[in-house]
């Protein structure tokens, strides 16, 4: 397993006829393999930009990102991505979507089929292999996206607000699924979210990011993800420690929002 290292990453977007936007400024951190990091922050704080840099979709204007010994220069199947929505291939069945990665790598067909079945089971979609993705609900589609990502056995799983478009009940179920998968596979997971509760609940580590310039404002090491593996989600989210942390982070984010509003006004 490989550790992730982010060194002095800058990202400046050129804005024609306007001031350049500093989406990320001097972001550095190390993430040991097997951690679940959540990125939280108000819009414009660069959390999605950071994720896209880690995925290799964007090249930072400064600094380097390395996974193990390799500098990240482009997308790779070592780093799987789960998008908010709409990234499934609607012309393929569920099984073909999941087997997409292995098929691109020209993997053994029988092995791919077996792996697909196994993954369908893992994400709770046994029997849906032959369904078309547009026949599934939003929650089920995200399960397919997770399975498709896992089929390539990546070192790091990047998730860009994967549960953002789901209804509250489905979202809770999916949070549990993400935690279980993280625990079972031992993979590094980095998840972007705008829900404080989700960031706290899922994050074994949490970065609260701040905008203009985009940066990591505060870091937390959190116990809740470990605890959630054995404890009931509702009970945990209602516990005094959880609520205390939630309020602390909320007020931090509110301060930032007010600062932005004040500056804008």
């Amino acid at each position: 397993m490989k550790d992730l290292s982010v060194r002095n990453v800058d990202m400046v977007y050129d804005v024609p006829k306007g001031e350049d936007v500093q989406a990320l400024k001097d972001v550095s951190f190390d993430l040991e393999s097997g951690r679940l990091l959540t990125l939280l922050g108000p819009s414009g704080c660069g959390k999605t930009t950071l994720l896209n840099i880690l995925a290799g979709f964007l090249a930072p204007t400064g600094g380097t990102v390395t996974l193990g010994d390799d500098v990240i220069t482009g997308p790779s199947q070592e780093r799987g991505m789960v998008f908010q929505q709409g990234a499934l291939f609607e012309w393929l069945t569920v099984a073909k979507n999941i087997g997409f990665g292995p098929r691109m790598n020209r993997a053994n067909k029988a092995e791919t089929a077996a792996k697909t079945e196994e993954l369908l089971d893992t994400v709770g979609l046994s029997g849906f292999g032959d369904a078309m993705v547009y026949e599934l609900s939003g929650g089920m589609q995200q399960r397919v996206a997770l399975a498709r990502c896992l089929a390539n056995d990546p070192d790091v799983i990047l998730m860009d607000e994967p549960l953002g478009a789901l209804d509250a009940l489905t979202r809770e179920k999916m949070q549990k699924l993400v935690l279980d998968l993280w625990n079972e596979t031992g993979k590094t997971v980095i998840l972007v979210t705008h829900s404080v509760e989700e960031a706290l609940y899922l994050g074994d580590r949490l970065f609260v990011m701040a905008p203009r310039p985009g940066r990591i404002e505060r870091e937390y090491d959190l116990p809740f993800a470990e605890m959630a593996l054995t404890r009931d989600a509702r009970e945990l989210k209602a516990s005094p420690e959880f609520i205390e942390k939630r309020e602390e982070i909320l007020s931090l984010i509110w301060e930032m929002e007010e600062e932005i509003m004040g500056r804008a006004g």
Binding site: A55, G56, Q77, G80, M81, F83, G101, M104, Y134, N152
Partner: protein, 331 residues
């Protein structure tokens, strides 16, 4: 139906729903696709509640036919006399017998349904000027198919290139924007002089008619690809070629199909005009050749064949579309 409280409407709708499913190979099945909405109370202004009611399509078809029949046949002298007169009139095409016909539309302006039917039968058996209707039809169809073949084969790669590379976009923008607005019909004289008479100018004209449509359809098909899908494919280990084949191409299929349908319609329309002047066979040529002989029945029979073929091609494409790209509009 929506005002019917007795429940008959519900029964009706169930019947209709079945027709919609099983009748998907008929024209009416396509026209009223979509979920039934008989339970909606607000329908006036709700476009999703409006679909083509095939029964009314049938009414309009019958009405059209009735008007045709009534104006050309029904009102006037007793029918035996008319038939005799018309037979006589046909034998000496330039007879001076206008006064004898008192129908609203006389046979020198428009043929009656019966005459057209007879002409159609004659065309299928004896043909017109020794060329049978089948040969004319095949000549026309094969030109359209050849034109479409090259239009698609050349247009789609060019459109894809324009959607994928700034250089290709810049390079092809000039000819596409310059030639696309030219009505193909304006080129007929040029093409006849350049390529002579026969298949060549007609086919090349049809390539010209379809290629710009296909280029633009392919270009926009590529551009509608969701960035997340493309990025997902790269993250799953796909190469550029694999992304092209497994993501961009299937993603563009709905747009390409729309392009093919539009291009086919334009080609069919352009073809008849092209054949009017530059061909030795084909439906357009047949119609034009019938004019000096006052064969209005042949002309109208030809027009009907052209119309029916056009409708059939569109239906065929819609069937193909629902079979080949069932995910259309569901991404």
């Amino acid at each position: 139906m929506s005002t019917d409280p007795s429940g008959v409407g519900v029964q009706d709708s169930a019947k209709l729903a079945i027709t919609d499913k099983t009748g998907s190979h008929s024209a009416s099945g396509f026209l009223n696709r979509g979920p039934r909405s008989d339970r909606k109370t607000v329908t006036f202004g709700d476009s999703s509640a409006v679909r083509s009611d095939w029964r009314w399509s049938l009414v309009s078809l019958v009405l059209l036919f009735f008007v045709w029949w009534a104006t050309t046949r029904a009102w006037g002298f007793p029918s035996e006399f008319q038939i005799a007169e018309e037979a006589n009139y046909r034998q000496i095409a330039n007879c001076n017998c206008d006064d004898e016909f008192t129908q609203i539309v006389g046979p020198r302006s428009f043929p009656a349904p019966r005459d057209t039917w007879d002409a159609l039968k004659e065309l299928t058996t004896d043909g017109f000027q020794n060329i049978s209707l089948w040969e004319h039809t095949w000549a026309s169809l094969s030109r359209v198919l050849k034109g479409m073949f090259w239009g698609v084969t050349v247009g789609v790669p060019v459109g894809f290139a324009m959607g994928l590379s700034s250089k290709a976009r810049g390079f092809f923008d000039t000819p596409v924007e310059l030639f696309r607005p030219i009505p193909p019909l304006a080129l007929i004289p040029l093409f006849i002089l350049a390529f002579g008479i026969g298949d060549a100018p007609a086919v090349r004209l049809l390539i010209f008619a379809s290629i710009w449509i296909m280029i633009i359809a392919a270009r926009s098909g590529v551009q509608t690809a969701n960035l997340s899908k493309v990025r997902a494919a790269y993250s799953l280990g796909a190469s550029k070629t694999q992304v092209l084949k497994n993501v961009l191409l299937p993603n563009a299929l709905p747009e390409l199909f729309t392009g093919i349908r539009v291009a086919l319609g334009v080609s069919w329309g352009t073809l008849v005009a092209a054949e009017l002047v530059g061909a030795r066979d084909g439906l357009g040529q047949m119609i034009f050749a019938a004019r000096p002989f006052f064969r209005l029945d042949v002309i109208v029979a030809g027009i009907i064949v052209i119309a029916v073929l056009g409708v059939l091609m569109d239906i065929l494409l819609r069937v193909l579309e629902s079979v080949l790209i069932p995910w259309r509009g569901k991404g």
